[in-house]
């Protein structure tokens, strides 16, 4: 038999910088959450705004405030922002408004913070039915209620017909950071376990099912949900959690690659341990997609010390948003920066960061 791991050597990045993937204009792949997005951030935005808080590349920044002279406490704020573009605006299991609230709530929650206040900016294309906008606002109100946050400030702009895709929403959120060490993409240590809070790819497949040219019938719905009560329960049960991330665009594979390079460790996952709904599995087979790269909007990936993993898993399973939680892999000292997967038949392969968006294929 061949030695499988000897073949898996870390990628050697070419030394010289070059134009972002050879494109002199922004292509859709730059927004895919894959390698093109990472390059855009690293080569264009980070140098422009260089500071340590941004350079940490977490889903949220932890901002220290001045010490209160009366009680000597220095509170820390968690701060994040996210834009939402989705076609169609209403899809099975959710809509752009609900996504915009829960997405920002989740970016705060996975940093261990308690989400408190949101802002929302609406970029509206001329011609959007007011009725649709009202439905979005209703949905946001309900999403704020379920996430325990208040939308306290906002902005509205209208662009010419044809200059926007009906509606774009940007939300920013602030929350109270938790006391104790920050959760960070740099914290994973060899021996740690990798956990997922439930089935993967539900959101992305639900969206695809209503995309023009690709549409198919399914009962599947987006998993869009606020994770703040799940993260709180997890941190209460297991304060030693190294990091949490919500695997949105780019999917679980992109988060695993970020933590492998952020913590300079290897990650190995097991295909048979990863929870995938039959409908997601089927849609991915049909379109030639890999569920590891499909977006989620109500799931999180957590890394915890091995000794805590079983307790953490029980806590997650006891929560309504974690009933299908599973331990899917482990952190290794081997092949730092690289994610591998043991296939269902026992072979091992690299799970790379995708270059751009995952496209349905014929072959």
């Amino acid at each position: 038999m061949n030695d499988s791991t000897a073949r898996l050597t870390p990628e050697v990045f070419p030394g010289c910088p070059r134009p972002v993937a050879g494109y002199d204009r922004v292509v859709l792949g730059h927004g895919s959450g894959g390698r093109l997005t990472a390059e855009l951030i690293e080569r264009l935005f980070l140098p422009a705004f260089s500071n340590d808080m941004l350079a940490a590349l977490e889903d949220q920044a932890i901002v220290p405030l001045a010490r209160d002279p009366t009680d000597g406490i220095a509170p820390r704020l968690a701060f994040t922002t996210d834009s939402f573009v989705v076609r169609p605006l209403f899809f099975p299991g959710g809509d752009i408004g609900r996504l915009a609230v829960h997405g920002t709530v989740n970016d705060l929650a996975v940093g261990g913070a308690t989400p408190l206040y949101l802002s929302a900016a609406f970029i509206i294309e001329e011609g959007l039915a007011l009725d649709e906008l009202a439905r979005v606002a209703d949905s946001m109100r309900e999403a704020c209620r379920s996430a325990g946050v208040m939308l306290v400030t906002g902005d509205t702009k209208v662009v010419d017909r044809g200059k926007g895709d009906k509606l774009f929403i940007t939300t920013s959120g602030i929350g109270l950071a938790r006391a104790g060490p920050a959760l960070s993409i740099r914290n994973a240590r060899p021996g740690d376990r990798v956990l997922i809070s439930g089935t993967i790819g539900d959101h992305g497949v639900a969206i695809l099912s209503v995309r023009e040219g690709i549409e198919f019938e399914t009962v599947l719905e987006s998993d869009c949900a606020p994770l703040h009560t799940l993260t709180r329960a997890m941190l209460d049960a297991c304060p030693g959690i190294r990091l949490m991330r919500d695997p949105t665009r780019g999917g679980v594979a992109s988060v695993l690659n970020e933590l492998a390079s952020g913590s300079n460790v290897g990650v190995r996952i097991h295909q048979t341990a990863i929870p995938v709904r039959p409908e997601v599995h089927a849609a991915c087979e049909l379109l030639g997609l890999d569920p590891l790269y499909v977006a989620n909007e109500g799931k999180l990936v957590a890394v915890a010390p091995a000794a805590d993993a079983d307790r953490l898993l029980r806590t997650m399973k006891a929560h309504p948003l974690g009933t299908h939680a599973a331990i899917i892999g482990e952190v290794l000292a081997d092949h730092p920066g690289l994610v591998t997967m043991i296939s269902s038949i026992g072979g091992e392969r690299v799970v790379p960061l995708l270059t751009g968006e995952q496209l349905p294929r014929i072959c």
Partner: protein
């Protein structure tokens, strides 16, 4: 029986791998013709279960990879016209043309749409009567009936705003070209399962007989591939050279006669340029004369196509099994999935992309058992 997960089972895979190990007494070089087979082999790590003496080389059966540069350039030029919606399978969008790809054409304002099926492109034509819908009709024999059906439906429904940019290729002439090459080192083939579902196996029998090579028509799931490899090794070890069907649940000797009749009705054979390989006589399809009105290349005049291939790219040798992807000097250096020089680095079926994503080898010397690499 769901016909999918049953064939991805670890115990069965191990038992078949052990049987291959027992059967294999000498080094052999087997080519899997289809990119889909390459995809399964690399993603599932099937090659890691095989004895060292058995080498799998990846064949030319990736329609995305072999679509000639000229067709890509023409598609990009058409996509840039304001009256055109260019519809395509998703995997064609990142294939590099001489200057950029279809995604870049879209970023410059071209209307490029991904469809799941050629029939969806026909729907698009019905729904947009004031636009020209050009479907980029690539593929092997497997895709030919669906593309032919799209043309027939557009014809019957009188959808004059529908046309196809055809770059259809055929497997048997490519296999002959590989076997005729003085640099050939392929001793047996895993035959193309889904191509044979449509076409049957009769065309492959003269190849097995003339070149004395075993051809085992094989499916795409791990257990299919392992069984196909086992049967191939058994033929090689006993000096047999016959066409066998491993993928019997989907392949009949005569194929699907009705689908073949439709292909006959819509297409005729023609010479075809294969990207990285060159022109292979009678290796493609084009529309027959009565349907030529649906040929986008004839309907739209494109000026100033200047087709230029990268001089560094070795995809031709890779598609013919003469080089492994990591043996190309540009692999992982000038050529990566972000900056692909050849289509084999783009398609997820492409051997280079599969290697880059799932198998980053340490550099290896350019010597392979039984090889005469030029």
């Amino acid at each position: 029986m769901k016909y999918v997960d049953e064939y991805r089972e670890a115990g069965g895979a191990r038992r078949l791998a052990a049987a291959i190990e027992r059967a294999c007494t000498r080094p052999w070089t087997i080519m899997e013709v289809c990119g889909g087979q390459t995809h399964t082999i690399v993603r599932q790590g099937i090659d890691q279960l095989l004895p060292e003496s058995l080498e799998l080389v990846h064949g030319p059966g990736c329609p995305v990879c072999v679509t000639p540069l000229e067709t890509i350039d023409r598609a990009i030029a058409l996509a840039s016209r304001p009256d055109v919606i260019l519809a395509s399978f998703g995997d064609m969008l990142r294939v590099p043309g001489s200057r950029g790809d279809l995604l870049a054409a879209r970023s410059r304002g071209g209307d490029v749409r991904v469809v799941y099926s050629p029939l969806d492109a026909v729907q698009l034509a019905a729904a947009n009567p004031d636009r020209q819908i050009v479907f980029l009709a690539v593929g092997f024999e497997t895709t030919a009936p669906a593309n032919a059906m799209a043309v027939r439906m557009a014809h019957r429904r009188g959808l004059c705003n529908f046309s196809v940019l055809v770059s259809h290729v055929l497997v048997p002439p490519a296999m002959r070209a590989i076997l005729d090459s003085p640099a050939n080192r392929v001793q047996a083939f895993l035959g193309p399962g889904h191509v044979c579902t449509v076409m049957g196996i009769e065309e492959y029998e003269p190849i097995a007989a003339r070149y004395r090579v075993p051809i085992v028509v094989t499916g795409f799931e791990p257990l299919d591939l392992l069984e196909g490899i086992l049967r191939t090794v058994m033929q090689l070890e006993t000096g047999t050279a016959a066409v066998e069907i491993q993928y019997t649940r989907a392949v009949k000797r005569q194929g699907n006669a009705a689908a073949r009749r439709l292909i006959e009705e819509v297409f005729e054979n023609c010479d075809r340029d294969w990207r990285g390989i060159g022109v292979i006589p009678a290796s493609g399809y084009r529309l027959r004369e009565p349907l030529r009105a649906f040929d986008a290349a004839a309907r739209f005049h494109v000026e100033g196509l200047c087709v230029q291939e990268s001089s560094l790219c070795e995809s031709g040798a890779i598609l013919q099994g003469r080089l492994k992807p990591h043996q190309c000097p540009a692999f992982g250096k000038e050529c990566t999935p972000q900056t692909p020089l050849g289509a084999t680095m783009v398609s997820s079926e492409g051997a280079c992309a599969a290697y880059y994503a799932h198998r980053r080898h340490a550099p290896e010397p350019l010597t392979i058992a039984g090889a005469n690499v030029p």
